[in-house]
Amino acid sequence: MAEDQRVVTSESGIPLKPSYGPEDLPAAADLPAPGVFPFTRGNFPTGYQGRLWTFRQYSGFGTAEESNERYRYLLAQGGTGLSVALDLPTQCGYDSDHPDVEEEVGRVGVAIDTLADAEILFDQIPLDQVSTSFTINGTAAILLAFYVAAGEKQGVDRAKLRGTIQNDILKEYVSRGTWIWPPRPSLRLIADTIEFCATDVPKFNAISVAGAHFRDAGANAAQEMAFTLMDGVTYCDEVISRGRMTIDQFAPQVSFFFYTHGDFFEEIAKYRAGRRRWARIVKERYGAKDEKSCMFRVGCVAGGASLYAPQAHNNIVRVAYEALASVLGGVQSMFTAAWDEPFALPTEESTTLALRTQQVLAYETGVAKVADPLGGSYYVEALTDAMEAKVIEIMADLERHGGMVEAVEKGYLHSLIADEAFRIAQALDSGDRPVVGLNMFASDEPVPEVEGFELDEKGRLRQLERLADVKRTRSAAEVTATLTALETAAGKDDVNLMPLLVDCAKAYCTVGEMVEVLKSQWGEFSQPVVF
């Protein structure tokens, strides 16, 4: 009986047939080889044969000295990339001596107040030879200024610097929370960094548009991809609308970042569909001439909200499947979460196991030997098409709601995500979404006992001391002059603020001082309260 049959769907709600066949494949002309536009089957003709994906593990330590030591150790072990986690005061634009933030200094990452901290962080690290990724958004332009200035102190020309700043503010307003100024001036500052990187720091990625945080806040895979592409469009529109640059001058410095969760084939389809959609947007909307501009370069995290505390060792298995889906989807870099992440700051042992998971996948399973091994699968191709259609539909809905900035300002995006998060919670409660150890095969196994992370009070005091020292020894006249120049320029739309921020950095202005000056011109964001 028809009414007895439940429609089987993917996690994003795409209806699935019992089986797929030749009639579900797109026309051969619509499915060109890997490395050929629109890159559904991957950006490169040889897949991972030429180069494996990057194994990137996120880490941060209390003070610049401790982080510097850790980075030099990693480089001595043959690492080539650094990943910098900043503490929340640095991310939100507060100095370490601000009275409201004392318990957060150095907690989830390193505290950077002035160029003096950045100099210590990168001491004896050749910035012309390593690539540095900063998870930083609200204050991304300021951290980029510090990096450029720290490089110059070492005698490294800014044109040789390599790395990435996340620099994606739109998702912060909705899901990660490190916003400072309202959307419109923030977009201007992001466009300034994109232009500045294109002209001055050509090997540096100016932005990593990060849907991952939408996903972790509750969005499903289709929403994650659609919201992220809309953000990408919003940033590119902002740069293009200035009329100073073509898409081909900056698109190769734009990259993307996602979560891979548990619905295996849907995640694979998500990356394939996203690659195709972005390629088409860049060509059709912006008239890109260089096909490199159309490439969707993507990093991901396996884990996050798809991991659970009960029977926590099951997370090792979940992360392995998610990592496999990411690779079959063709990502360029990956972070694998540690199994204890749902209830603790991961230990060295658990993060090493997470890295080993990628290494086994890369070197033992053979999945990296052939580009897009699932290409031509009836199911995967059909699901890729369905995912792209769904992404197009969600993007159109956002356009109808006035675009991304309005959706953020009015709380529309917040409500879409909160609704989906609530739906997922109900499905977990009812068992409609099965999770082993949570709503099936549950056991009384207690959550493993872990140590709380105690902040090193000495580290915080040393940070405060250094900040006081810098304030005492720097030239007050230079500080005033550079901050005044920044303030004046912030009030004009046609001046790129990056060179002025580099001047402020070199004068040892603090993050908080630069942020306050810009607040005086731009005001502060106030988040719509939707739940």
């Binding site: 318990e103 957060e104 990660r176 929370g177 909200a305 505390a309 140590e451 709380g452 739940f531």
Partner: protein, 131 residues
């Protein structure tokens, strides 16, 4: 009179999925929810709790700074004259920190993975004692 609950995230961590979910579930269970959102200062949370005459204050913290922020909020509530309002805390909290949070002024702690129904039951029990 429905029971009034204030839900807020003190400190700078922006992970509000859990806080929003709990706010919604409490509302559906008949509570009147005052949801303040992220990046709230403890003194403001305390002032609003007193001004809105809420029956319980719930904090959600995922940054690891839960002990310090709970103590700050508790002290601010005492200073604002709201020391009779029970304070509960949820988030990424290791079991070993539960006694420390109770020392800092929390009457109940809901670490990650606490079923939503037990939060509702616990809140009902707390507020019926108060009333």
């Amino acid at each position: 009179m429905p029971t009034r609950v204030l839900v807020a995230k003190p400190g700078l961590d922006g992970h509000d999925r859990g806080a929003k979910l709990v706010a919604r579930v409490l509302r559906d269970a008949g509570f009147e929810v005052v949801y303040l959102g992220i990046r709230q200062r403890p003194v403001e949370i305390a002032a609003i709790a007193v001004q809105e005459d809420v029956d319980v204050v719930g904090l959600s913290i995922l940054s690891g700074a839960h002990v310090a922020l709970t103590r700050k909020t508790h002290d601010a509530m005492v200073a604002a004259g709201g020391d009779d309002i029970p304070l509960v805390v949820g988030g990424t909290i290791p079991q070993s920190d539960v006694p420390k949070l109770k020392d800092a002024g929390a009457v109940e702690v809901y670490p990650t993975g606490t079923p939503l129904e037990s939060i509702i039951e616990s809140m009902n029990a707390l507020t019926s004692i108060v009333k």
